[in-house]
Symmetry: C2
Subunit: 211 residues, 2 copies
């Protein structure tokens, strides 16, 4: 069975998945890199092999078993990327996805094939429709939901997310885009576990309860 | 030195310190008892002695070294208690404070002496003024800031809180009163630690950084 999974999505202690004001040059606004420093401390990031503790164990779950990613237009390049015909995302010529990536947007354009197996597809539709397209491309593997906060929220509200790994970072952003908005009662649908790491972050996992 | 401390203040994963709609009969609104079940599982609550793990260790810090409490009018009995001349709080004849308690309110009334050392005083003023009164009554001991969410936030914003223990409970309330509102950047003023407990909650402590 192909699952829909969220990995390594970081929020501040007050629940913001990004700061503001976002721009192409500052995709996380005033949060800068602070939501992701925990990741830069892992062996996975530093390239020193396996065995790096809790943060490292979680960060490495991003890729295995994933056959496609879905991301919001904001993650691809909010705001204004669609006015730039040359925009190919934030990740350089070889993006870290290595699968088809479905960018949710009203501004569709021809697909862009990158190095390393990543192809960006631009697709308009409901979360369920976009998930269907991504799942068909995933070849029986899972679909990763890449964010941002609004995209994750919309898929959770639609009941489409099977597993979600959120990283709570001990900073107070005060403003930006909240992940936790309008999700009343979803704790009834998921087993929720929390584990705090020596780096200071807390990993929170949501695993859909079996029917 | 007398400190201002917050203990055992629970919020949902999405940051609400109470649900809604609050009433005298349902002081936490639709949250019911869910924000406090972690506490009911401790040896401290169940009366079985010491040695009960992380939750128990934290819950027992509520009393030692405290000489007075400050609470918002909402904790004392939101809404409408001031229309009831007989209202003496939610805690019965022997409230669990055992010190002077300063209730912040525009509706002041004569002090009420309860059993067990608790006396409710009704006081109007700024957070700094009320803290000054409570500190004077605390006889050199610390002052506990008892909540609710709005009261804690106001004191944190005023720079008056030295230590804060927040319990993040893995439920999604979706609505109510947020603790984390308008506190941008306070992580610069505090050392923040998180520890997840087997019960499922995560204890987050804020300790004011030395100047």
């Amino acid at each position: 069975m192909s699952l829909t999974r969220v990995h390594n999505f970081a929020v501040s202690l007050d629940g913001f998945g990004t700061g503001d004001v976002q721009s192409l040059a500052a995709p996380f606004g005033h949060a800068g890199e602070r939501l992701h420093e925990w990741m830069f401390g892992t062996r996975w990031w530093k390239g020193a092999g396996s065995g790096g503790g809790v943060d490292d164990a979680f960060v490495r779950q991003h890729d295995p078993g994933i056959g496609a990613e879905i991301m919001g237009a904001g993650k691809y390049g909010f705001p204004g990327w669609h006015e730039d015909p040359e925009w190919k995302g934030h990740w350089g010529p070889n993006p870290p996805f290595h699968t088809p990536v479905y960018v949710m947007t009203h501004h569709t354009r021809p697909s862009i094939e990158m190095e390393g197996g990543t192809t960006f597809h631009f697709i308009d539709g409901t979360p369920a429709e976009i998930l269907e397209a991504a799942r068909a491309a995933a070849g029986g593997e899972d679909v990763r939901l890449g964010g941002g906060a609004t995209t994750i929220r919309d898929f959770v509200k639609a009941g489409l997310v099977d597993y979600m790994h959120i990283v709570v970072v001990p900073i107070m952003l005060g403003r930006g885009v909240r992940l936790w908005d309008g999700l009343e009662g979803i704790d009834a649908d998921y087993a929720i576990e929390s584990i705090s790491a020596p780096s200071g972050v807390t990993h929170v996992t949501f695993t859909r309860a079996k029917d």
